[in-house]
């Protein structure tokens, strides 16, 4: 854990605190003016290319001056401009400086178009240099690093081959460019670097150089195919465009030099191979450029998919999957900063992964998300940053939503608890009244009656006690009604339907109640519904006019208990009428059990008060 902490800290320092994805995205979308480096490098490349075109078109010994001018300009401009674009998109990539260097190193090749003997000879030697830099570029794609034994052997062989060319130039009295379309018309300029003639040595070195080129091409093709075959999805994606073009270039090169070795140094095949080399070499940089553009299109697609995925409210354990598939990295892991250190979506602590690259998303000047990803994705740091930031947002969203839902659930259950507790208290109060004061006073009344029986009927005491009994009975009745208002005993004894039928029974025919199939429910729900119906009946008999008929209907449908109090009275406009506190209290009481109450009425159309409570 502590090790990971340190690793994240150092990664954050390297990428800079300003490396947060949001700032990155802002920087990418802003137009950045040409930097000094870009102006100088680009200017040098354009100047070099212009000189190449001018010199080549002026040379009168060349077979294809026009095509050669294009090729020489492209050798400089192609890599340099691709490199500058690459550098803008991936400022930390090592491949961009390599591209720029290769382009600038191609400038001296222009000397091959010069008729000045020493310059012409240097230009011929420079073919070896261009061969070397092109091979280095192909081998370094796309990371910019030149690691591994095969890479070193190929480059070493290339250096030896370039050495051979230097020797050839020194021992061959007459030299001609070995390039494809750089042949001379009748004769080439004089060899300015000629020392002394040794034609057999020159012939052997030419063949040796051809062997090196063929072997190097085959080894490099094998290496590229191997890289592609063992590559992870992100690596394959990075190699997908650049590698086929490079392989095609290497194949044409091997075929051309191979055909020279077996003595097939003229004819249609020879000419075709020469032109194929020229074309495919020019395509190599544009293959790299296409790779970069494809990567940006890919990044756009990836982010769009991640954004769409995040709309589906992924849960915390699903966040990794949300990034894995779009990024094509099945082993991607996420770590979020929490009070308990770095944890994954399931809350487990995350440890460092040695074979993965760590990208840290910084927020408010401190690391917030760590993404462990395929090393190849390190080329797309901005993409990984943005994806990590999306994961962070989705996580915060999920956490907020969970907290909100918890709070709502807690609120709802606490309301139901409070309502149930209040109801239990009402029932206890009613029981206390019934078992206490009412019984005691009834017993007193009976005692009084028994005492009165002992007195002479017409006596003053007898009359007084009759009055006393009547007073006591009236007090008892008030007490009974009070208890009934707090919690009606019939509700506890016979449930909603029984209690409402009693209400109907007392009405003298104005109210009817029905509730087939309605059973017993928790007391708090029964009393909430009972009092709603009672309030509705009282409202109707108060406001609906004389001779109104009121019906109470209860129904149990699925997990819902529904009730409806309907009258055929004068009705009213619910929007204009003030809802009494009685009805509002009942609405609140129903709300506590997730129930609802609706009032439908219109002048002259009667009134329906209907409600439903879940009882599942």
């Amino acid at each position: 854990m502590i090790e990971l902490e340190r690793e994240i800290e150092s990664t954050t320092r390297i990428s800079g605190v300003s490396g947060s994805a949001v700032q990155m995205a802002l920087r990418a979308s802003r137009r950045i003016p040409l930097s000094r480096f870009e102006a100088v490098t680009g200017g040098a490349a354009i100047l070099g290319a212009a000189i190449a075109v001018w010199l080549t078109l002026r040379a009168d010994f060349l077979a294809h001056p026009g095509w050669l001018a294009v090729q020489k300009a492209d050798l400089v401009l192609g890599p340099v401009l691709t490199g500058l674009y690459w550098r803008r998109q991936r400022p930390r990539s090592q491949f961009a400086p390599l591209l720029i260097a290769v382009g600038l190193l191609s400038i001296p090749y222009v000397l091959q178009s010069s008729a000045v003997p020493w310059a012409f000879s240097v230009g011929v030697i420079w073919e070896g240099v261009i061969y070397l830099t092109t091979m280095a570029l192909i081998l370094a794609f796309p990371t910019g690093r030149l690691d591994g034994l095969v890479v070193r052997l190929v480059l070493a062989a290339g250096v030896v081959g370039t050495g051979f060319i230097v020797v050839i130039v020194m021992v061959a009295p007459v030299i001609a460019p070995d390039g494809s379309i750089s042949g001379c018309l009748a004769a080439c300029p004089e060899n300015g670097l000629f020392v002394s003639a040794d034609v057999p040595l020159a012939m052997r070195l030419i063949d040796a150089n051809r062997v090196i080129v063929v072997v190097n091409a085959i080894a490099t093709i094998a290496l590229l195919v191997h890289r592609f075959a063992v590559g992870t999805p992100p690596r394959r994606r990075a190699l997908a465009i650049g590698v086929p073009i490079a392989v095609f270039f290497l194949l044409t090169q091997a075929a051309y030099q191979g055909s020279n070795l077996v003595g097939l140094d003229s004819g249609a095949f020879h000419t075709t191979a020469q032109w194929a080399i020229a074309t495919s070499r020019a395509l190599v940089w544009y293959g790299f450029l296409s790779t970069l553009i494809a990567a940006e299109l890919f990044a756009g697609r990836v982010l769009r998919r991640i954004v769409e995925e995040s709309l589906r409210r992924p849960t915390l354990p699903e966040l990794e999957a949300m990034l894995r598939e779009p990024l094509g990295d099945p082993g991607l892991r996420l770590a979020f900063r929490s009070s308990a250190g770095w944890i994954d979506g399931t809350g487990e602590p995350v440890s460092s992964a040695p074979d993965r690259v760590l990208t840290v998303v910084v927020r408010d000047d401190s690391p917030a998300v760590a993404v462990f990803h395929d090393p190849q994705l390190a080329e797309d740091t901005e993409l990984v940053h943005a994806a990590g930031a999306m994961a962070l947002l989705a996580r915060e969203n999920a956490e907020l939503e969970a907290a909100w839902n918890d709070a709502l659930r807690e609120l709802s259950s606490s309301r139901a608890r409070i309502a149930a507790a209040a109801d239990a208290e009402r029932r206890a109060l009613e029981r206390d009244l019934h078992d206490g004061a009412q019984q005691r006073l009834t017993a007193s009344l009976l005692k009084l009656s028994m005492l009165r029986e002992l007195l002479a009927v017409e006596s003053v005491a007898h009359t007084g006690m009759v009055e006393l009994e009547e007073d006591l009975a009236a007090g008892l009745e008030e007490l009974r009604q009070l208890g009934h208002g707090i919690y009606p005993a019939p509700l506890a004894e016979s449930g909603l339907v029984g209690a409402l039928e009693r209400v109907a029974g007392r009405s003298g025919g104005a109210v009817e109640a029905s509730g087939a199939g309605v059973g017993r429910y928790p007391p708090a729900i029964e009393s909430a519904v009972y009092f709603c119906c009672l309030e509705a009946v009282q409202n109707a008999s108060k406001h609906a006019g004389s001779g109104v008929h009121i019906s109470i209907r209860l129904r149990a449908i699925g997990q819902m208990l529904r009730f409806e109090v309907r009258d055929d009275g004068s009705g009213f406009d619910p929007d204009a009428a003030f809802e009494g506190t009685g009805l509002q209290n009942l609405r609140d009481r129903l709300d506590a059990f997730d129930g609802r109450l609706e009032i439908v009425s219109a002048p002259g159309r009667g009134t329906v008060i209907a409600g439903a409570v879940p009882v599942g």
């Binding site: 009834t442 009344l445 009656s449 028994m450 029986e453 009974r480």
Partner: protein
């Protein structure tokens, strides 16, 4: 049978005054069924609300177990169960507790001394 001791006392006094003898008292539905089995009374005064049940059910049990037992239901509440419910429970009738002193028990029970 009534769960309130004070009321049981007064009610016993009242029925004694009306010429009946009190065989026993019970404070709950279970105790009522047990006492009826043990004491074999001719008549019972039964509260509708008991701590462990209601008078209607107890009346049903008692009249089934002891055919001919005269059960009179009573309550501190004025509201009487419907006639059908009373009949179905085997009881003879219902009297509001506050009116017990004015009640002619012979309408519901056998006359005192008949048993």
């Amino acid at each position: 049978m009534d769960d309130i001791a004070l009321f049981r006392e007064v009610a016993s006094e009242l029925v004694r005054r009306r010429g009946y003898s009190v065989a026993g008292e019970a404070h709950s539905a279970a105790a009522a069924v047990e006492a009826a089995e043990r004491l074999r009374p001719d008549a019972v005064l039964l509260d509708l609300r008991l701590p462990d049940g209601n008078g209607i059910d107890v009346s049903t049990v008692l009249t089934r177990a002891h055919p001919g037992l005269a059960v009179l239901l009573t309550s501190v509440d004025r509201n009487s169960p419907s006639d059908e419910v009373i009949r179905a429970s085997g009881a003879q009738g219902f009297v509001f507790k506050a009116c017990l002193a004015a009640t002619d028990f012979s309408r519901y029970w056998p006359a005192p001394g008949d048993a």
